[in-house]
Amino acid sequence: MAAADAVEGDLKGKRPLSGSAVDAPDPDAIWHRVQAYYEAKLARHGANPCDVDWSCTATQWLRFVQLLKLCSFDTPLSLIDLGCGYGALAAFLAERYPRASVDYLGIDLSSAMVRRARRRHRGNPAIRFRIGRSYPQQADYTVASGIMNVRLGCPIPLWESLVRGTLADMRRMSRQGFAVNFLAMLPVNTPPEMLYCPHPAIWSRYCEEELGCKSK
């Protein structure tokens, strides 16, 4: 599943990573940059799909539909949403599967995003959010929508090492399965160094050969 045309104009004027983030392969510096990027967008657009680089609500939902094909909603399940942003997937779940019993945990690097998400889903004990990148416990499924796309000038080998690590973590923390998407093609007028557009087959093969998964 690929998230084509997911990134809009804001990257055009963005400078690639410079200084310590490129010279020293420090993942924390890269994650910090990604966090700052999304927090700036949140401040500019508010909590809506454009804030997280989708062209509209419908295209964002379309990716959720694809990612959630992994899950069986017939029985109660637990789900981790990695890079949950302002909690759009949790809202989509309630809308699309109103009778499903889902224990949802959203994780995001950005404390501003998580604050918005908590405010949005206040009062629902089955929906929780956590700041950071670590998983407190295993879940039946883990999904991540669009988190591999925005590399902000991070060199590809380094970005790919982060993708490998993220996929391995998702594998380790998922009892039933995990789903991610990648950008299929670079949007028009977007500097290529800002985004990561691999052939998805590369990562399907990685998941099968290195992580022992059956990929779809």
Binding site: A4, S55, T57, T59, L62
Partner: protein, 159 residues
């Protein structure tokens, strides 16, 4: 559109519409969106559909007028007897996107003075392209003729 939104916003939304429903990947995505969510159907008004698709003027003030215009299309006539301009557009999108051979959609305008109807046709509106399109044409009064009235209405509204 000129009576409701500025020329700049008209150009802006026409550009977005023609991009989002353009040939190839954009049209494919719209077909999938329609299949999943029935964005164009009796369930949603055009205002709701375009809000969901984020086809709106970049200017926030103009967005309100854009939504007023989309609602006003319910009072427009169309090239189908008894069908409003609004419903004609919704059905045109729905039938096209759900059809066996969906066409890219070209949205344009014509002078209200020439024809008051919302028109939906099929053909080759872009002369340098062999691509066939579904064309939606909306009767429009030039903004220069209409904006003074809008400004007066706005002034009355705000007191």
């Amino acid at each position: 559109m000129g009576a409701y939104i500025t020329d700049t916003s008209t150009a802006d939304v026409l550009f977005q519409l023609n991009n989002r429903f353009g040939p190839g990947a954009p049209l494919d995505e719209m077909v999938t969106i329609q299949k999943e969510f029935q964005v164009f159907s009796e369930r949603y008004s055009l205002k709701q559909a375009f809000r969901l698709l984020h086809i709106v003027p970049a200017d926030f003030t103009e967005r309100r007028f854009w939504f007023v215009f989309l609602e006003a299309l319910k009072n427009y006539v169309s090239d189908q007897e008894g069908i409003s301009g609004h419903d004609r557009i919704v059905r045109a999108y729905q039938e096209n996107l759900e059809g066996a051979r969906p066409l890219p959609v070209h949205t344009t305008t014509h002078r209200l003075a020439d024809d008051r109807r919302v028109m939906v046709t099929q053909g080759h509106p872009i002369i340098y392209e062999p691509q066939e399109y579904l064309t939606i044409s909306i009767p429009t009064k030039p903004a220069a003729e209409s904006l003074p009235r809008r400004a007066a209405a706005e002034a009355r509204r705000t007191g």
